[in-house]
C-alpha cells in the first residue's frame, strides 16, 4: 500500500515526532496511510504506542542507516 502522506520528522526530538504525526493524521481519512521518517531513537517505541493508543494500524516499521520509517494506517 502506498503512503498517502509522508512526514519528515528527521532530526526532531521527543515529543515532536509524535506531535507532528498526530497533527497530520488528524487531517487524513480513515484507511489512508501515513509514512513517518524519524531519527530520534526514543520516539520509536512512542510512535508504535501512540499508533496503538489512537486506534491506528502500524503496518510497517524498519530502520535503515539510522533512519526509522513507520507506515501507519489511520483507524
Amino acid at each position: 500500500m502506498n503512503a498517502n502522506k509522508v512526514l519528515d520528522a528527521k532530526g526532531l526530538a521527543c515529543p515532536m515526532p509524535v506531535v507532528r504525526a498526530r497533527k497530520v493524521m488528524k487531517e487524513m481519512e480513515t484507511g489512508e496511510v501515513l509514512e513517518i521518517l524519524a531519527t530520534d531513537k526514543g520516539s520509536v517505541a512512542d510512535l508504535a504506542a501512540w499508533s496503538k493508543s489512537g486506534g491506528h494500524d502500524l503496518l510497517e516499521q524498519k530502520e535503515e542507516g539510522g533512519i526509522f520509517t513507520f507506515r501507519i494506517q489511520k483507524g
Binding site: C14, P15, V19, R22, K41, A45, D46, A49, S53
Partner: protein, 375 residues
C-alpha cells in the same frame, strides 16, 4: 504558574529521606512498567504524553494539591510540554531535569567510613539503576572498583580530594552496565584489573585479578585482598578491604544474591555460587561490613543513602544465604529468574572491547534496572 525543573539530585534526597511526592510519568506504559523512579512514599500516575495532547483537564483532579508534582519522561522534552500544559491550568508543577536518562546516570557519593591507618572509603550510589561503585583513598592515592561509564564523576571526585587514581578494578565482567574501569585507567595511567576467567574474550590488555595478588593504596598499608568467589560469573572476585569491609561484587547483595545465568551458564555455575556463599563467605568474620555492587530496591538504602550491612546480619536475614537444601537452592537460582537486563549481551561485548557503541547507544543499552539478583 511557572514550570520549575527538579534535578535528579533533589529527587535522590527526597527518595533517601522518604519524602512523599507525586510522579506523573508520561512515558509509554511499557517503559513505565519496566523501570521507574522508586521510592517508599511516591505516588504515581502514568499517562503517555501522546494521550494528553488534547489537554490535561481530565487528569487535574488526579493530581494532589499538597505534594510536589514532578512530570517525568525519557529525556525531558515531553515532560516539559505536559508540565507547561498543567501550569497553564494554574497548577504548580515540576519536571525532571534531563528525564530518566539523567536519573539513570546520576551518581551520589556517600562516605562509608575512615580506614584504620588513615584513608577513606566512598560508595557511589547510582540511584536510578542500582549500581554501586567504590573509591578507596589513602596517602594521596585512590583505587576505584566497579566504576560506571560516567567516568568524569570519579575523575572529578579524585581531583577534588587531590588524590591520584592508581588502580581501577572490576570485580567481574559486567552484564548490566558499561564499565568505566578501563577508561579511567587509561585517563590516569593507572592499572586496570579484571578476573582472567571473565576475560577470555577481551580485546585489550589488563592485569590479572587473582587471589593472592593484594593491591595496596598509598603507603599506609590499606590492603585490598581479592577473594575468588565465582557464581555470578566464573571470574567473580570479592575484596576484603582493611580487614573491615567485604566488597562482595555481584555475589551477595543486602536482600538477595547474585544470579548465575547472565553469561549463559546458570546450571554450571550454581554450584560455584553455593560454594562461594555457603563455604567461602561462611569462613569470614561476621563483623565484616558487606558492600555490594548493586541494590535492587530502595528498601536496601540506609538512612544516609548508602548500601551496607554486617555479614553476620546477612547470614541471619538474607533468604539466599539460608536455604539448607541444595536442590531447593538450585531451584531458586535457576528456576525462577527475573528477565535479563536490557541489552545485556551487547553490554558484555562492549565491556570485552569487542564493540564500541557511541555514547547515545550506550545510554540506550543501559536503560532500565540492573536485574543482577535472584531473591
Amino acid at each position: 504558574m511557572i514550570v520549575q525543573p527538579m534535578t535528579v539530585s533533589t529527587i535522590t534526597k527526597k527518595v533517601v529521606n522518604k519524602e512523599p511526592f507525586f510522579i506523573l510519568d508520561v512515558r509509554n506504559e511499557d517503559a513505565f512498567a519496566d523501570w521507574k523512579i522508586e521510592g517508599e512514599n511516591i505516588q504515581y500516575l502514568n499517562i503517555p504524553y501522546f494521550d494528553l495532547l488534547d489537554g490535561v483537564e481530565e487528569i487535574l483532579g488526579r493530581l494532589p494539591v499538597d505534594q510536589d508534582i514532578v512530570v517525568v519522561c525519557a529525556k525531558e522534552g515531553s515532560s516539559i510540554m505536559v508540565a507547561e500544559m498543567i501550569a497553564e491550568e494554574g497548577r504548580a508543577v515540576h519536571y525532571l531535569q534531563g528525564g530518566m536518562k539523567a536519573w539513570s546516570e546520576h551518581l551520589e557519593p556517600v562516605k562509608i567510613g575512615d580506614l584504620r591507618n588513615g584513608g577513606e572509603l566512598y560508595q557511589f550510589v547510582r540511584i536510578g539503576k542500582g549500581c554501586l561503585s567504590y573509591m578507596i583513598i589513602s596517602d594521596g592515592e585512590a583505587v576505584i572498583l566497579d566504576a560506571t561509564r560516567m567516568t568524569d564523576v570519579f575523575l572529578d571526585f579524585a581531583d577534588k580530594l587531590n588524590v591520584k587514581i592508581t588502580h581501577s578494578i572490576d570485580t567481574h565482567l559486567h552484564a548490566d552496565h558499561i564499565s568505566g574501569g578501563r577508561k579511567i585507567a587509561e585517563a590516569t595511567g593507572g592499572t586496570y584489573w579484571l578476573p582472567p576467567k571473565d576475560a577470555g574474550e577481551v580485546t585489550f590488555a589488563y592485569e590479572a585479578l587473582e587471589e593472592g595478588r593484594d593491591i595496596r593504596v598509598g603507603n599506609t598499608k590499606i590492603e585490598i585482598q581479592p577473594l575468588y568467589s565465582p557464581g555470578h560469573t566464573i571470574g567473580s572476585t570479592s575484596f576484603i578491604v582493611d580487614d573491615t569491609y567485604l566488597l562482595s561484587g555481584d555475589i551477595l547483595f543486602i536482600e538477595s544474591i547474585g544470579r548465575p545465568d547472565l553469561a549463559g551458564l546458570a546450571e554450571d555455575w550454581v554450584g560455584d555460587l553455593r560454594e562461594s556463599l555457603y563455604k567461602r563467605y561462611k569462613e569470614l568474620s561476621e563483623e565484616l561490613i558487606v558492600l555490594p555492587a548493586h541494590f535492587m530496591i530502595v528498601d536496601e538504602l540506609n538512612v544516609d543513602g548508602s548500601v551496607s550491612e554486617k555479614l553476620g546480619t546477612l547470614f541471619a536475614e538474607n533468604r539466599g544465604l539460608n536455604i539448607e537444601d541444595e536442590t531447593e537452592f538450585r531451584e531458586m537460582v535457576t528456576g525462577n529468574l527475573p528477565p535479563q537486563p536490557n541489552a545485556y549481551q551487547q553490554i558484555r561485548e562492549t565491556n570485552m572491547g569487542k564493540v564500541t557503541p557511541d555514547e547515545e547507544s550506550q545510554r540506550e543499552m543501559e536503560i532500565g534496572p540492573n536485574r543482577c539478583a535472584v531473591r
